[in-house]
Symmetry: C2
Subunit: 210 residues, 2 copies
Amino acid sequence: MKLYDYPTAPNPRRVRFFIAEKGQTIPIVTVDLAQRAQFTPAFRILNPSCTVPVLELDDGTAISEVPVICRYLEDLHPDPPLMGDTAEQRAIIGMWDRRMEIDGYLAAMEALRNSLPGLSGRALVGPHGYAQIPELAARGRQRLADFMADLDTRLRDVPYVAGDAFSIADITAFVTLDFARGRLKLELPDEAAALRAWFAHVAERPGTQA
Amino acid sequence: MKLYDYPTAPNPRRVRFFIAEKGQTIPIVTVDLAQRAQFTPAFRILNPSCTVPVLELDDGTAISEVPVICRYLEDLHPDPPLMGDTAEQRAIIGMWDRRMEIDGYLAAMEALRNSLPGLSGRALVGPHGYAQIPELAARGRQRLADFMADLDTRLRDVPYVAGDAFSIADITAFVTLDFARGRLKLELPDEAAALRAWFAHVAERPGTQA
């Protein structure tokens, strides 16, 4: 098994964090996105969506898409459970993880990819070029502000995003917010005390360094 | 168990199609989106994302998000499998389903919600109002054209989206393309022979009427 990765990209970081929480190690192949290596013919065969991460299994099967890769790894290594260990828990965690991804992660990508000069003509990942839309960069930042406020409200009631236990939903939210700070200069609001406390707590996990 | 639904919305249709393929029946509660019933205080408690479908379990737990609801139903009723019956098959089908959703379904929503006068100020689902962006409506239509071409290429090699067997990925793609025809007047291209043959074949399934 191999993980196709790029060190500074946030989606691969979600999977590395997940693998670290599982106590696993998977050999890494770096795909040099700065050199557009995700668009080479060889990589397109592996993943026609031209994205990392990709998990390549020993039989050559290539799996892309972060939650799908994580689900596969959870099936292989159920302990510690990060995606729930009953049908109902899987559903609750899956729902919260998707909310973190749609409302948070995708908003951050919208803000970044529609504003970064180096991504001109590549406002969406994938093989097709789409032009940047400046209004979309502004919308992405507004959505992130709304996301932080909503998540702060949630975390006043529960210690972790999906409830009582650390899960993949915390990984998605943490990587999103750390990316927003580092790349978009969007800090957690001072008044979002619950969100700030949760962020500081999660930041202590070794997986954040993976 | 109850399913909160709206008859003409495409996301609930995906779940109704899935339930029909399972041979199951779940009581329906209609949420009148035309009357903005998804924004009432009672519904916000059920689902703060203000979307349908929602599956309410007998213990009161509310599950939103289409693939999460389907995963829960698959756990309860594994036969016939629509999401894979091994870890590897689950991964392959999950990956293709997500591609259909991101590249197809979300593109269709982008095209519709940024152009329909009745959705002014509601270009994204959810509790926060975001303005329509006309350039995004045009981009959504271009993305759907790219999606149809890519899926036609895929279906030249395999009978179903995820490979040899009908799966949730076919449901997602079919509902998306049927919505594009009906609501966006985007027909399948004449030259997309494989896509057209697959569409006609899937259209014969009783679940398309659910």
